[in-house]
Amino acid sequence: MSNQFRTTNSSGLINKNKIINFSFNGESLQGYEGDTLASALIANGVHLVGRSFKYHRPRGFLGAGVEEPNAMVQLHEGNRSEPNIMATEVELVEGLVANSQNCWPSVKFDIGEINNLLNRFFPAGFYYKTFMWPKSFWYKIYEPVIRKAAGMGIAPLNPDPDRYEHNYEHCDVLVVGSGPSGLASALAAAKNGAKVILAEDKAHFGGSLLNDDVTIGNMSGREWASDVISQLKNLPNVIVKNRSQVFGYYDHNMTVMFERVSDHIENPNKYTPRQRLHYIRAGEVIVSTGSIERPISFGNNDRPGILLASAAREYMKIYETLVGKKPIIFTNNDTAYSTALEFLKNNITPIILDTRNGSDGELVKEVQNLGVDIKFNSGIANTKGHLKIKSATIGKLDKEKENFISYEEVDCDCICMSGGWTPTVHLSSQAGNKLKFKEEIDAYIPDQKRQKETAIGAANGSYTLDQSLAEGFQVGFELSNKFTSNNSKTDTPSSKEPSFESHERLWCMPLPEGKKPKRFIDFQNDVAVSDVELALREGFRSIEHVKRYTTLGMAGDQGKTSNLNGLQYVSKIEKKIVPEVGHTTFRPPYTPVTIGTIVGREVGNHYLPTRKSPVHHWHEENNAVFVAAGLWVRPRYYPRGSETMSDAVNREAANVRKNVGICDVTTLGKIDIKGPDAPEFLNRIYTNAWMKLPVGKARYGVMLREDGMVMDDGTTSRLSENHFHMTTTTAQAANVLSHLEYYLQVVWPELDVNVLSTTEQWAGIAVAGPKSRELLSKLFPSDDLSNEGLPFMGLIDTKLGNIPARIYRISFSGELAYEVNVESNYGLHLWKKIIEIGSDFGVQPYGTEALSTLRIEMGHVAGPELDGRTIPFDVGLNGMVSQKKDFIGKRSLSKDAFVAEDRQTIVGLVPVDKKSKIPEGSHIVENDKAPTPNPKLGHVSSSCWSVEYNNPFSIAIMKDGKKQIGKTLYAVSPVKDISIPVEVVSSHYVDPKGERVRS
């Protein structure tokens, strides 16, 4: 029989006309529309949900919302599978699949429960104490075993198929929580004209008004809540969000909220995100997050069927679900009596145990007037029932309430406990608020704020409805007045609720005589009273240390139900008042958030922008294999037929040496520099001289950081008297621009110069090889491209048909070479023209690999040499350093270490066998058999297959490098277990005199 635990009334918020099918541990069950997974399971009599973290004890539901520490399930299947989901937070949807976790082979029979029998061998700090030695056991034995046993659910192995989104919002007032104070403040602020966002975690607005029998104005609490929500929804300046949890409060009033957009929808639209992350920058934040009920520690207080009284009431009132039919209510305060009354409405008479000597509260009187016997001065000592609570040992307490004086065994199928209430101060604390302890309620409330945050209502320790509404309307009005000039105040309606007597300061029952059952404080981490006692006995005093040693208050629930009970117990043993013990720090997230939501749309290729050259499509069509170069995607090589990468790279590089090749160099950084002081500026930025560069000429330049390290290199051309075109490496383009801006704006604002990135505006194509002149002469027939007409490092402004073009005679390959620039939109046209005309000259495209090969053979330095750890001397660029002028970083070059005799320098390496490729990153040593630490002479920065000599060649940066030339040393790569004898040669392996580029 299904749904046998339903109430007979229909005062809830579920729709009994719509049945929802779901499965739990393989069993098909039915619930109703509006149920949570928790309420539907309870309605079907299922209380055993999972096993506890450490002892694998059977566990059920403790709460009905975000506070739930026990009832965590593995939700969904396959790639959508999600571990550690609170069943209390899952709305029931057709076809939902949920399973128990942390148990094997089943939740009813779990092998891991042996930990419970052995619990005296698993005290607090067990891991810290046990696995310290022998040290070598850690990786191979302890860690794998612990890993296997640890954790709760199982993460799916494949990518999440769902869609998640991010959204940015700004508002004047953000109200977190839609209980009475939250609704009041949102209404007051909104009616005063402020831009308001109201966030509610649950599907329904109203918070405690959904559960409490109160009157506001002439409406019931529920009616008033829905009336306020409809008013708010009709205002254009208000965003109202349910299913939305504000889980983080960061600097400058940046809050983060996640919204469950379609988790509750059976068939969501394809592009509807599953969840959405909202970044909300709020002018003021109103924290109306309410309070959470506290459990009481007593023997075996963790059995399925033992839960918070407020949760039992919520299941009855909202979900029309009975947590049991033979209830015990166990309390130290008045609020649990409303749960008793709810049972009585359903013709169930609970046994009521109250630790206090008595109470004159209206609810207590009402229960008494219904003829129910209340056992004051009483408590629970122990419970029985392996997979579900069956009975309880209850007893009378002595005067000091430190011992039981009598015992009685009573049958029950649930225990509803209430230890009073804890204000939900998490967000205020995250915002930097220094909390203070409020004696009357025995709990911390927000005090000195650091940010623009105001706690109201129960979150502020104001537990009466009158107070909550008054604070809400007042604070909502006052804060909104900062943003509007309406000064329009909303009246606070009158309200009526029962009166309450105060609670008793008692959260831990004495042990039953002669027995030592576990009395749990923190259910999620299996921390019992005895663990806290042990920690204190072992000398842990700081509450932060007790927390870490026992794990009290850690993990997914962040101690929502356990923190204060833990503090209270420490203060009792230590004989200190709670404020002296202090409290642990609250950190985001308030509730667990899916990684998918945090990541949003930034997955896969959306993680970063992708930059493509205008020629990209041609590369794709011509079989290019691509490589990421920063954000850019560049052709690495263009394999033909069955060519391997090295075949293709060698062919492409050899063709440049023999005929002509073209390479897409659009990715190079380009910066336009203009202004009368531009030459002076370049003179300060670069190490070499720039004042006398003629118009129409390019010059190679090296720039340093102030610490003397090479920052970047490239050619810069003078287009006109006050106009220069700078190129940077692909990788450093953005940094160089910031660097130039820094010096112009911060250091030398007197220089009249402007800089602007033009990388995107120009497409660049390198044409390199002995036949490049012939090819370009055919492409630009009216231009004189002879060695006299366009000499090395010259440039001309011309046209390709009607298209403006620039031809620079610069070379990275060491061959006779040019770089042609046209506007980006014409890049593809230019490329295709060159390929078309070049077929007569044997033109072939070459990728970044051949580009590297060509420059390495020539000993041209690039990124691997200019790695931020080399000064010009190290990489053979000391000839570029002017002795006559000052420039950025020059003073550093005269530091002792930088002028040392045996300073590192760049050299070439050829393997002695002329065959072995030397891995980049290899270390150079004199003797590869020497014992470690073997002194390292340097490292291999770049390696290639020399197409000129047909053997491997590498560049290395080595201590006293020039003196090593001619020696045989070893390139060793311990990670690859390689040692290669190498001969040290000049880094200028091909054409050392540089005749080709000038030919």
Partner: protein, 90 residues
């Protein structure tokens, strides 16, 4: 995430900016003799104060302007921002 007022563009989120270090550092003038200690102080050594600190920020994903900010390094409160050629009005 901080909210920073660019003196040119107005309030923007921190992810549009890059941090530029201590705003009190003055680069030694070009072409002047400077001893190694003073040079090293300029290149390497920075105070790490707790509290009010003048620092540089660059509106890198915005107007590309460098500017000064007076920020509390402990609380992250930003007291004022101003253009490079201005002084804080606090």
């Amino acid at each position: 995430m901080l909210e920073i007022k660019c003196p040119y563009c107005g309030k923007r989120s921190q992810n549009e900016f890059s941090y530029g270090g201590d705003g009190n550092i003055k680069r030694p003038p070009l072409g002047e003799e400077i001893n190694t200690k003073d040079w090293d102080d300029f290149v390497y050594f920075r105070d790490n104060p707790r509290g009010k600190h003048t620092e540089l920020w660059h509106h890198a994903s915005g107007c590309r302007q460098w500017f000064k900010a007076s920020r509390d390094t402990a609380t992250h409160e930003i007291f004022a921002t101003c253009k490079m050629n201005e002084d804080f009005n606090v």
